[in-house]
Symmetry: C2
Subunit: 285 residues, 2 copies
């Protein structure tokens, strides 16, 4: 089979506003050890989760354009905010498979919730978009979705306070309305949140099922690339991970160790291309 | 005197990474009620406080270039991070008076501290730069400066949690080493922090003097523009405040109410000019 599809051997492109998307890269590496991965973290403009739909859409198109020019075979939007606000536009503008983190997490939550009472936590922009509720209702129309923006969780993770009493207090406050609504499933709708799983588990107890959007996204990418015959089959060497960042690489290195926890090449600094005027549908591949 | 200096009637330009600099605008409005003020908040790329010196310097030059093209008579860098990392570059590149927030706050702290034991709190990039310690030592060589980065405070202010128990816990944790060092003066080295004054006061007690960098910056701007004969004297109408933002203006409005608390025009959306190639010293005025 090898070589029957020239795209197969190309890397998978992954982007995020910063370092959080490395949790998706980590899951991709686990499920697809032979794939080469190019990661773009837009660390000069991070975060996206507090910004408007128009701005996030523009940033996401610039990120995807950079990846498309690196000759990737598919684009993974490893950022819940960009998935919520820009996925449809990216699908229209780029003639490549584009995968987001929201549909796979919503699918799993809809399938696994016993009572159909599903909580979603994420950034302000993700929650405000209503993207998770729409995606869950597409799969399970009768589900009740309770969504809460948790803007302090990303800064807490980036500060490294994963198990502090303060972090538990903040989580208790954010999760209280979801607990009162008797959710049985909670979607961690931000790529930073997997690092808070032990703390979230302490607050919710064992009865609430946690859906990790990074895990479900990686499984979805594996399944879809398999169906499209785009997996780098037949390769014996381990895939490489090449990160690019828009801010200086120094601070990224330390964060990468905590979020990625598998070996990667040295991060490179990149200036993103401006969108060409008349940036039209499906012209970039 | 009116009309003897044509620059007098131009607006003062003020920029910040986001909304925090509005605390400086508020103090400018209080001290200089007749001045027109143009405010630029780079809300699409906020925050600057987590980003590298090279990136903050580039963003600050783009912000200042936008203001210079609006024909301002002076530029106020109402952002501690940009003041710490980019003030020298801005002074070199722009043929206009440029004022930062750090020197005035450092001056006041050096003057008012009884024992010369001075604490400084700010963003990671501000503290890492060492700019406050250098500025304080220029004024008082024997001072002991104890500086701590407080990355969670800006998100807490933006979440509106100004008086919550969680906020007090976070402050206690950040301020504990400064209290152990027996500081008698604390510089609030970030334009968001004035909103936390009551909470900080609760943690430090009354014996520690708080230096508000927004207040000291505004007083400095008034004094310097007076000395340069650049104040809009003789004007009877109240000055206007025109905000510009790089993200959509919607979210800015709500924040502006909390930070500014005086009337302003409707915020306008702007795309910042890219720096011209060969962007050289002192060419913009």
């Amino acid at each position: 089979m090898r070589g029957t599809h020239p795209l197969r051997q190309r890397p998978i492109g992954v982007f995020d506003s910063g370092v959080g998307g490395l949790t998706v890269v980590r899951q991709l590496r686990r499920l697809l050890p032979a794939e080469d991965l190019i990661y773009l973290g837009d660390t000069a403009r991070v975060p996206y989760g507090t910004k408007s739909p128009a701005t996030v859409e523009r940033f996401a198109c610039e990120d995807a354009l950079f990846l498309a020019r690196q000759q990737v075979k598919a684009i993974v939007v490893a950022c819940n905010t960009a998935s919520a606000l820009a996925l449809a536009t990216l699908e229209e503008k780029f003639a490549l498979p584009v995968f987001g983190v929201i549909a796979p997490g919503a699918h799993l939550a809809a399938k696994q919730s016993r009572l159909g009472r599903i909580g979603v936590i994420g950034t302000s922009s993700t929650i405000r978009s209503g993207a998770y509720a729409r995606a869950i209702h597409r799969e399970r129309a009768a589900a009740r979705v309770f969504a809460t923006a948790c803007p302090l969780l990303v800064p807490l993770v980036e500060e490294g306070w994963l198990h502090e009493p303060v972090t538990l207090d903040v989580l208790r406050r954010y999760l209280a309305p979801l607990q009162r609504a008797r959710i049985d499933t909670l979607v961690l709708g931000c790529t930073h949140y997997p690092l808070l799983k032990p703390a979230i588990r302490k607050v919710t107890g064992e009865d609430v099922r946690l859906i990790d959007s990074a895990q479900s996204c990686a499984a979805h990418v594996r399944d879809r690339l398999g169906a499209l015959e785009l997996l780098a089959k037949g390769r014996r060497r381990a895939g490489v991970i090449q990160p690019y960042v828009t801010d200086e690489p120094d601070r990224f290195r330390a964060a990468a160790r905590r979020f990625l926890r598998v070996p990667a090449r040295e991060p490179l600094h990149v200036e993103l291309p401006a969108l060409p005027s008349g940036f039209g549908p499906a012209q970039w591949k």
